[in-house]
Amino acid sequence: MERRTFLNIGGLAFGSMLVPIAGRAIAAEELIDRMAASLKKPLADIALNAATQAGASYCDVRIGRYLNQFIITRDLNVENVANTESAGVGVRVICNGAYGFAATSDMSPDGVAKAARQAVAIAKANARLQTEPVRLAPVKGVGEVSWATPIKKDWRLVPVKEKAELLIAANRAGMAGGASFMQSMLFQVNQQKYFASTDGSYIDQDLHRLWAPFNATAVDKSTGRFRTRSSLGAPVGMGYEYLDARAEHKVKAAGGVATLYTGSYDIVEDARAAGRDAKAKLTAKSVTPGKYDLMLTPEHLWLTIHESVGHPTELDRVLGYEANFAGTSFATLDKWQSKKFKYGAESVNIVADKTTPNSLGAVGYDDEGVRSRRWDIIRNGILVNYQATRDQAHIIGEKESHGCSYADSWSTMQFQRMPNVSLEAGEKKLTPDEMVKDIKKGIYIVGDGSFSIDQQRYNFQFGGQLFYEIKDGKIGNMLEDVAYQANTQEFWNACAAVCDRRDWRMGGTFFDGKGQPQQISIVSHGASTARFNGINVINTARKIG
């Protein structure tokens, strides 16, 4: 959920995008300065020692520098360019069986030691209210190590002018294609994270992420109608090379109805298509409600996976820690313990993976110093595991954490966050064009749209960007006013086929919200185009006033 930490920019209330505003603005030339690991280690040791001396049985220190650059455009104007930086130290301790956390932007030895002692004092106070002591799954110290997102082109070295011109070129193409209005943005992130703990780990990580979303709006003043189409590109754990479009990274959607992207993204081409699509949506046929076989592309399915598999298998939700905000989960421990809870059809295999190349969740180590790994959540349709941190592993009988700990800032306390959760490609050879041939009455959905799910993740409703009728094995006309409603378990059990690995791609988000006070996390979800039989489709057209 996107919440109060976002500003609705540009005054575009409908179909606008949300930008997190955090940190202080800095000059472009300061972006590439980096604090050496050799300077961070003594600072971390000061915190570890201060905490231990004050009585902590465990301590971890995160020294963070978070850099963001946002470029925001509207039609042919650059509305804003902002560089922000946030740096500081967060100290988490366990004392008398309870957590304590304190953070400071004062990165002097005294400032850091004071924060460590404060964290211990808070832990001692919290211990009086604690009913059960914190139990951390063991982690072997890894000594001094480093990990970096493997980027080819650092966004910090690409001139702002060049980036702004690319967005304006996309907006121009969208308007030439048929859009009345365009809005595009470029979010660029560099997180320099140093983690140290009393387990003997000193981990230096340099993480890069990038996202270039846009929104095309077509207006027909004569009818008073307007329609939008947003970007089909994905947020990625990559450098600026993602925006250097390459022909080999383009894929044709089934029936050639759209161009989709893998290792790089042609934003100008997609914007032109979006202008054309938005205009076509103004006169597209309104869907007849009823049961349809749905064929969902990865650009759409990532969000359904996120809401209906990612969130229900977060162990803190299952246990009730999120009951007052994000909710709980239908995927209760007894279902998992039974080893036969049929979450989905036999063909449904869903894995959690913090190592997937180019994904948003890919890191070397999580925010508890646990090495990234891959594990099954659903195997052959059966619920087999959850997402856990060090303090939760024992609850599900695991000897090690899954490495799902994340904090969105040095100033916030880490807790369980969703790793990349992805649908595995089908083993049998199958392309989207081949998949269409077997469908008698269906709808092909490309791109993500409106989304809503209940607090235990049973009942959901999803829209999309582009909808095409499938009739007797062929893709036909564009449809509009489509949304599908389903129950999570029924939906995944209706999965009839998944295309093979040639069609596997990721989507994702920068803005997954959870916790109170809320923290924002980043996550990717991969899938191949998949077919779901007999899903209830509603017509969303309404007349007002």
Partner: protein, 444 residues
């Protein structure tokens, strides 16, 4: 450092203006102290206190603008921030829609500060959590909740002599109470500027009662029903709709307030005539700062009057283009009502559904403001003026425009914080005909 006085911030603003070599300079200083306590499974999970003070300097050379932010306030840091903003402004492309800083504006203070809230300490927060936890333990229920309080200030100034400074306090409490078997769930939210208006016992009792009453829920067929919506069930729906009151979007043809042929629907009667919605920075229950983000003074403004679209919001740029006066963005939403309690609305209902709260609301179609979402934490069947039994939750697909046309009866407005919006709101319970529930949810 976090809470500065008017004298201190005035001095900082003057220093910044003196450093600036740009054509114009705008300064915003914000400081806050946020305290919170979170609990779940009948125990405290986290508690924290965070201080933050930041200054934002925005300068312009002609139509080229740059912004820099810093959280240090010595002369050297202030000058650095000004130079960075100037450097970014020189590098920035010219923005044809740039609007110069406002001039000649003054602000009439609103009552946004309460000392009793500023005095909230860890003990107060612990007590707020403790009552819910202890009461739930005794009744074999499970409490999860969050109490958050803030003391803050905002100072604005620009090189045209505009200056404003005001302190604020606020608190927000939410609590979800569930039965141990997970078959019942109740919820409550209380928001206030003044801690004297917050009673954690009263709040917890509401959530506890709803949890106990909501077990043994029966399924009703989805369809159109008369509903009694508590304020938390409609507040976020209204926010989605009011976001469409931007004049530019309406004029450009991309809002539900756009008209066939190109005009907007200002003056049209789109809602039941009982509907009156306005904003007012000086409202005694939901006061907000008397300026908006562009340093325009907020005024009392009726957006919907007797069911008619009475005003749209004009930004500085759009107002200039259209030759009208600009309007400040609203900080609060107030919907007029009656003196009737929710219980009276229920008593006047022959057959209907009581909705405590709606959740995960998302726009399905901005053309009609069609929204989807779900009921949660206390949904009951009403028969012959009485709550008969709990019912399973529903998903709805409904437009607030349609909803505000189908009003039977309006209750007494109460203060309610938005689930996903930052507005202070004063919203009544409403009895509405033909509310469209499209499917059942098994969620409790």
């Amino acid at each position: 450092m976090s809470i500065l006085t008017q004298e201190q911030t005035k001095r900082i603003c003057d220093r910044v203006m003196a450093f600036s070599k740009a054509d114009e300079c705008r300064v915003t200083i914000k400081g806050s102290r946020n305290g919170n306590i979170r609990f779940a499974r009948n125990t405290v999970s986290t508690a924290g206190l965070a201080d933050d003070t930041q200054i934002e300097v925005q300068v312009a050379f002609g139509k080229k603008q740059g912004t820099a932010t810093i959280n240090e306030f010595d002369d050297k840091s202030l000058e650095k921030a000004v130079r960075r903003a100037e450097e970014l402004a020189r590098l920035a492309p010219e923005n044809p829609e740039f609007m110069p800083a406002v001039a000649g504006r003054q602000f009439k203070a609103s009552n946004t500060f309460a000392q009793r809230s500023a005095d909230i300490d860890p003990e107060f927060r612990a007590q707020a959590a403790a009552y819910s936890i202890e009461a739930c333990r005794k009744k074999n229920l499970v409490a999860a909740g969050f109490f958050n309080d803030s003391t803050s200030f905002e100072t604005i100034a620009n090189s045209n002599g505009v200056f404003g400074h005001q302190a604020e306090t606020a608190l927000d409490f939410t609590c979800t109470v569930r039965t141990e078997d997970g078959r019942g769930s109740g919820w409550v939210r209380r928001s206030a500027r003044d801690a004297a208006k917050f009673d954690p016992r009263e709040a917890a009792d509401v959530a506890i009662e709803k949890a106990l009453r909501s077990v043994e829920a029966k399924a009703l067929e989805p369809g159109r029903y008369t509903v009694v919506m508590e304020p938390a069930a409609t507040s976020d729906l209204l926010v989605y709709m009011l976001n469409g009151f931007d004049a530019r979007s309406a004029d450009e043809g991309r809002s539900f307030l756009s008209k066939k042929g190109g005009a907007n629907r200002l003056g049209d009667k789109l809602f039941d005539e009982q509907v009156n919605i306005w904003s007012d920075p000086w409202d005694k229950d939901v006061p907000v700062l008397p300026w908006d983000g562009t340093m325009l003074p907020r005024e009392r403004q009726a957006l919907i009057k007797n069911g008619r679209v009475n005003a749209l919001e004009y930004s500085l740029f759009w107002a200039k283009k259209k030759g009208v006066l600009p309007t400040a963005s609203a900080g609060n939403i107030i919907m007029g009502g009656t003196d009737k309690s929710t219980a009276e609305l229920i008593a006047n209902t022959r057959k209907g559904i009581l909705v405590t709260r709606t959740w995960y609301i998302r726009m399905v179609d901005p053309q009609s403001v069609l929204l989807t979402g779900l009921t949660r934490d206390g949904t009951f069947y009403i028969e012959n003026g009485k709550i008969k039994h709990p019912i399973k939750n529903f998903r709805f697909n409904e437009s607030p425009v349609t909803m505000l046309n189908n009003i039977d009866e309006i209750g007494k407005p109460v203060v309610i914080g938005g689930d996903e919006s930052a507005y202070s709101m004063l919203i009544p319970s409403m009895k509405i005909r033909d509310f469209n529930f499209t499917s059942l949810s098994d969620a409790v």
